[in-house]
Amino acid sequence: MRKFLVEEGLVMPLDRANVDTDFIIPKQFLKSIKRSGFGVNLFDEHRYLDKGKPDADNSNRPVNTSFVLNQPRYKGCRILLARKNFGCGSSREHAPWALDDYGFRVILAPSFADIFFNNCFKNGLLPIVLDENIIEDLFHQVESRSGYSLNVDLEKQLISKPDGELIHFEVDEFRKNCLINGLDDIGLTLDSREEIKSFEDSWKISSPWYFSTETKR
């Protein structure tokens, strides 16, 4: 996995609560069997005015110029500022893949849906939960000033604002370590191979009914 140390970048505000993963990446793009290439269809139904098709050329599609992602001042953004319950709904990991592929590295919100939050960490994206008042202030600042950037230092757990103010954020110690070192979860778990085996052996004895393989019609 890609390491996450420090990220600095332009902030894009998405002023909407309960943004669901259908909003982030509509279902027709889930037919892909690849992990990449979802960025051009990020927020597809809001970003374009027509209905998107998988594997189609997006360059000639009519663009919704009023949607925040299409505003020139947010071109090249890397940090997404969002509202509560971001990423709710479907478990599709295509949502963080699309955000990542577009170029986002950090998402700031007052709360996230559990599955989405978890999926972000598996893909080198950092979702940060901040107090609702801090988020509110950031929305005001981002919208009132073009080129608003933040610096996010995971090691120090600090966000630096352009005015020099620092915001401390919390992050699970284990996940932080995985991100900073780009660790592969599966490799880590397989370090416990013997423990898994011994659990499985005793579980098979105490609960053999979970190991039945009956499949007849």
Partner: protein, 473 residues
């Protein structure tokens, strides 16, 4: 020994190891797989040179992407017109074959929506840990299993290690007391719960549903309730094991038999929260006050009793929420103050992992028997949850009742719940749907979804608008 909730009990029994910071390895008994969220996981496994830890813990079925018309289905894989969908369904077959995983293929009678098929086959057993790359995995909690959705990276992780790396969630009890009124169903109960606690109300929790109303529900009704726990933000929903649970599971293909059954049943009877177990949060709802529910907006929490009206965003004090209300109404083409019963409909969809089981179909059929779909309804369809549900319904003559009423009778799959296949709601069209999500574009680009119970959807088909089911049954 201290008292435990049902969630505590299942969690503790599956604990492989725990780090000091609380990160825990949990053993997974059953991994369900479908075509949409698995190809990248199998690819990852292949690239890393890994193999499944335990092939027989996995069970696969295509459901999201497959056509539901008989003409397409009849020809199997080659009948899938959409080439991209075909590749994905083929990839599932190939990946399962390569990894020695049982996959019920598209035209196997046992094929169905993964969350209908699992319990039906007895692949879902009480006390199990169950995961699937699908958020509605919470459904299986109805049988006293700890079940939740995971992302594709975790699908790969479970394939490779038979474990998940997790932190324990908090315990919430949603207790629905009393008795439901006639015509009020499990779907109305769960929509009312979401209306009460909101779509993020259960975030960070496992919700156990309890109380008289939940105990009175059939197992299929309980599945409807647990299915939508995720719509309240909870990854997992749970219901205590009782005699109904054991009766449901007994004799199913994957369930233990004979002496093994007797032993298992003894253990499973203990799968209830201890009487003095402590929940981090308890929500109590009076079942007698629940009316048939209809969603009017673009989030399941935007819900109203059928006798109500669309609320005025102006009365909402929180500016973000007010903005969301306004956006929702604009998307839905609805105005504040409109009576729910005056919402004009274009389409009716009866199906999905929430409501496509035999009892759902019986409930809908009873309402449309000897009646005709209203003229303004352009499409009405019933999509059974599995091949076995379809067969059972046909044996009972339900298919004829639907067809005679002017309702299409389809092959099993996820269909218009998420519209990955050709079953899509048209732009601007209003649909009474028994599915689980009314998000923008969920059932089709620009489509407008209203979530309801099967009986309410059936009544809406006949009347062309929402009607209070209590007045017609």
């Amino acid at each position: 020994m201290s008292s435990k909730t049902l969630y505590d009990k299942i969690w503790d029994s599956h604990l492989v190891n725990q780090r000091e910071d609380g990160t825990t390895l949990i053993y997974i008994d059953r991994h369900l797989i479908h075509e949409v969220t698995s190809p990248q996981a199998f690819e990852g496994l292949r690239i890393a040179g890994r193999v499944p830890w335990r092939s027989d813990a996995n069970l696969a079925v295509p459901d999201h992407n497959i056509p539901t018309t008989t003409s397409e289905r009849r020809r199997g894989l080659s009948g899938i017109k959409d080439p991209v969908s075909k590749i994905q369904v083929k990839a599932l077959e190939d990946n399962c074959k390569d990894n020695n995983i049982l996959s019920l293929e598209m035209n196997d009678i046992r094929q169905g929506i993964v969350h209908v098929m699992g319990p039906e086959q007895g692949a879902t057993l009480p006390g199990m840990t169950i995961v699937c790359g699908d958020s509605h995995t919470s459904t299986h909690g109805a049988l006293g299993a700890l079940a939740h959705g995971i992302g594709t990276s975790e699908v790969e992780h479970v394939l490779a290690t038979q474990c998940l790396m997790q932190r324990k969630m908090k315990n919430m009890l949603v207790r629905v007391d009393g008795v439901l009124n006639k015509g009020v169903t499990a779907k109305d109960v769960v929509l009312a719960v979401i209306g009460e606690i909101g779509t993020a109300g259960g975030t960070g929790y496992t919700i156990e549903f309890g109380g008289d109303v939940i105990q009175q529900l059939s197992i299929e009704g309980r599945m409807t309730v647990c299915n939508m726990a995720i719509e309240a933000g909870a990854r997992a929903g749970l219901i205590a094991v009782d005699e109904k649970t054991l009766d449901y599971v007994k004799g199913r293909p994957f369930a233990p038999k004979n002496e093994l059954w007797d032993r298992a049943a003894e253990v499973w009877k203990e799968l209830v929260s201890d009487p003095d177990a402590i929940f981090d949060r308890t929500v109590v709802i009076n079942g007698a006050q629940i009316e048939p529910q209809v969603t009017w907006g673009t989030s399941p929490e935007m819900v109203s009793p059928v006798t109500g009206a669309i609320p005025d965003p102006g009365s909402e004090s929180d500016p973000t929420k007010r903005g969301n209300f306004e956006e929702a109404l604009e998307y839905m083409g609805l105005e504040a103050g409109t009576r729910i019963e005056n919402i004009r409909l274009d389409c009716v969809f009866i199906g999905s992992c929430t409501n496509s089981r035999i009892e759902d179909l019986r409930e809908a059929a009873r309402v449309v028997e000897n009646k005709k779909v209203a003229e303004n309804i352009e499409i009405a369809m019933v999509v059974p949850g599995s091949g076995l549900v379809k067969k059972q319904a046909e044996e009972e003559g339900l298919d004829k009742i639907f067809i005679n009423a002017g309702i299409q009778w389809r092959e099993p799959g996820c269909s218009m719940c998420l519209a990955m296949n050709a079953d899509q709601l048209g732009e601007g069209k209003h649909c009474a749907s028994t599915s689980n999500r009314n998000f923008e574009g969920r059932q089709g680009f620009g489509g407008r979804t209203h979530l309801v119970s099967p009986a309410m959807a059936a009544a809406a088909a006949i009347h062309g608008r929402f009607v209070d089911i209590r007045n017609i049954i």
